[in-house]
């Protein structure tokens, strides 16, 4: 027999049940089920004890008999109790007893995170609150034609064809791959057929795929220094060894000691170096291609914001110059449409396309084909080109306003990066200045600029502030710009 009143125990337990959020009948069922389960696990009721009849317990608890029967059935299914026809329900032998964890105790002897995990979390890169003036890398989604986008999506949702609801097989939605190939070959001089294009869930996924397929743990990746922190994070997560390579006004510039090493991957942003805005010169491009081919390295060309050029046409891609098939070209729609769309692409050499498609499908199981279909239409119907033009104009105006107000305040105390492209500029500071300190001062006023020195993996060689202007409304640029300019001016005094 049961050594205490199960009914009383359950009634007491039901007062403080965790299941309060559920609707009435379900809550009652859960209370009975959980109460008995708890009693068994905590050994309040031990193996062989017979439970009261469902009828008696229902009466005592003031619930319907069905509720109690359902709870018994569940306990039976899970092995907490056994039933012998006609003779009632008994507590099972569940092995050693165990208290319902009053407080979980981590028995783990080592640290919870792996060595790799500790490296990844050591220096968080992302901003928790992105939507603030001057955050680098943010585009202005208010300019995004969401009405058109909604209409294009609805066209497909109305039909909901199965192939658009399924996983994205074979490198992504074919019409989008074709459209991107066409766009890249015309606008970026990329040598590409649709078969070489893979649609990914953004640059982070593209980088994961490249790092995993092209490099093994411990192998070397050259990264620009200063450079894009989130790419490094992926390489770290994929256990590559990072070697920071200096960047000057002509782009990445390996020193003699660097040239003695054998990178497996070389990650570059040649169109518009992040964050210094340097454009890689033609001799530097050809040198890098030869170097990569000679060393058997892969170049990952991240062309993240080539659309934003305010004067002249964008420079051709590095991939288009490559005669050794050693460049993988990466692009994203997160910078030009809206960040959360998370659609990007890879262009891989033709003989690697099959391996990349298989791996993308197996290791990532990509999806969002509905979005891919809408995007293909968005580009093909000319909305993309219109949007790029509009965004270029808007950002160009913002850039000009910002440059004007900063120059008027800072004069010759600080130089501004000159490249007329992108979504951010750099206020170059004297070596003695603490850009970290100035960034912290700006943060107090709600301005999220980033210290140039924080983009270095090695010893920071230059000081400055990386200022994203794309997201700041045109009519507020003057205000925020002068706020920022005065903070910098005061700090430099």
């Amino acid at each position: 027999m049961i050594p205490f009143s199960l009914g009383e125990w359950l009634l007491a337990d039901m007062q403080q049940s965790v299941s309060k959020a559920a609707p009435g009948a379900l809550r009652r069922y859960r209370s009975v089920y959980e109460g008995i389960r708890k009693a068994i696990l905590s050994r309040r009721m031990s193996a062989g004890i017979r439970l009261p009849s469902s009828r008696a317990l229902a009466e005592e608890l003031g619930v319907s008999r069905n509720t109690v029967v359902a709870a018994f059935d569940q306990l039976l299914a899970e092995g907490y109790v056994t039933a012998a026809t006609g003779s009632g329900t008994y507590v099972s032998d569940i092995g050693r007893g165990e208290n319902i964890r009053p407080k979980p105790v981590r028995l783990h002897r080592g640290p919870a995170l792996s060595a790799r995990g500790r490296r990844i979390v050591a220096a968080p890169g992302g901003n928790t609150h992105e939507i603030q003036p001057f955050v680098p890398g943010m585009d202005d989604f208010s300019v995004f034609p969401s009405k058109i986008w909604q209409r294009l999506q609805n066209k497909y949702w109305r039909e909901s064809p199965p192939e658009l609801l399924d996983y994205a097989a074979a490198g992504g939605y074919q019409p989008l791959r074709r459209t991107i190939a066409n766009y890249l070959s015309i606008s970026r001089s990329v040598r590409v057929a649709a078969e070489q294009v893979l649609i990914t869930a953004g640059t982070q996924q593209s980088l994961h795929l490249c790092a995993q397929l092209l490099a093994s743990p411990g192998e070397l990746a050259w990264v620009e220094d200063p450079g894009y922190w989130a790419a490094r994070k992926v390489f770290e997560a994929c256990d590559l060894t990072l070697r920071p390579i200096a960047v000057d006004a002509e782009g990445i510039h390996p020193a003699a000691a660097d040239l003695a090493t054998s990178p497996r991957l070389i990650y570059v942003t040649p169109s518009h170096h992040y964050p210094t805005s340097a454009v890689m010169s033609l001799p530097r491009r050809q040198g890098l291609l030869d170097l990569a081919a000679g060393k058997g390295a892969w170049i990952l060309e991240d062309d993240y914001d080539s659309e934003f050029r305010y004067s002249g046409r964008p420079l051709s891609s590095l991939q288009g110059l490559d005669s050794h098939d050693c460049v993988i070209y990466l692009g994203t729609f997160s910078k030009i449409l809206y960040p959360g769309i998370k659609l990007g692409y890879l262009v891989v050499p033709a003989d690697l396309a099959e391996s990349f498609k298989t791996s993308l499908y197996d290791t990532q199981r990509p999806g969002q084909v509905m979005l891919q279909a809408a995007l293909a239409d968005f580009i093909e119907q000319g909305h993309f080109a219109t949007h790029v033009r509009k965004v270029r104009q808007v950002y160009g105006e913002r850039r000009e306003s910002l440059v004007r107000v900063l120059q008027s305040i800072l004069g010759r105390h600080a130089k501004l990066s000159k490249e007329a492209s992108g979504m951010h500029l750099v206020i170059e500071l004297p070596d003695a200045a603490s850009d970290l300190h100035i960034a912290a001062e700006a943060a107090k006023q709600g301005l999220v600029v980033r210290a140039l020195s924080s983009y270095y993996l090695g010893q920071p060689q230059r000081r400055g502030l990386v200022v994203g202007y794309a997201y700041v409304p045109t009519e507020r640029i003057q205000h925020f710009g002068s706020l920022l300019g005065n903070i910098v001016k005061k700090a430099l005094r």
Copy 2:
């Protein structure tokens, strides 16, 4: 002076230009630009040569002078030519000459893929053509209430608030995290607060995050054998060493030799083992929790299809039994809503939540907040519960029909897996049967069943066919089922 007629060269080149897809003016611009660039890169025009005037060249080509000026400007910006005011345009010294790659030559000395990459692509797991009868793991998207879904999405797209277009910070859309925590604690006895929930782009991303944060390359992961191939792919991509652990009718069952090893991760599907349908028994669950706690291992509990139970209520989660905080719980909406939605979640111990959130944000930059918002409403407004009920009923009927027709044809020659849950069943075959051969025979008739032996990492211990019935329309089950039954019967004779 120029040693050949640039105009003639360009005209010839324009005939076979790659830029034919572009509209007229752009095409002409590209032809001029690309032709000159090619002439320079191929050394047809070497450093110091003076280009014809833009006026003369425009006349010769029959294009507007603006077109030629734009091409010259671009070449100037890219460094191919230099201009001296009043004295014309000259070819720059671009370093060593280079042919426009007539055929790219891979100079890479080693293999193109890394050792890791070769492992990943060695045995592709995914089906290229998913949408066929009996593919395991496919849900029936035709049942998905896409009209309601469209309406919920449109509600947010009409407003397009910036925070829903941005990256998903801090673990995902807060109301969805809260809703999932509530759902899991009621339906799955998961001990969880919203703060422990992270929204991911599906199980593959969840597994990447766990593998990268909790294990270092070379460390050991125990995986069920037979087991889910796509989870193994992620562990391989993250360079873990896999150890296959036998599964019997009560779930994962480590042998003495296994117990001597020290896994860092233990990947299990306790509610419904994939693909044998075994449910992990209570003693086995407690044993596994103790074992993990003792060894300092993390259990990854993949509860991928716990919603599909046709009789009784689902078993409680392993996580809910854990008193050592050593279980990470994984779920997905791809199996219950539609595959391409690519929204899943992780429940992590409270003290790891911050590390996981930071890493998710930094290594993946998650997005799709619009979909997350629609999903939160979908669950909160009761559509999710309604859909689960409907799907359960539909799949249950299909399962029953399939079992009936298979049993009537196969009789006692083959046993069917008994678990009344999930989206697939297993036709268990005698040890002497070649399940691979039978699966190939079925494929000839357009039926994609998978050989049970193909799910083994080690030596296959059992033979069988894994048959997904969820996607086959109810009225066709009889037809396809009898087709399959007869193929099996014939093969067993």
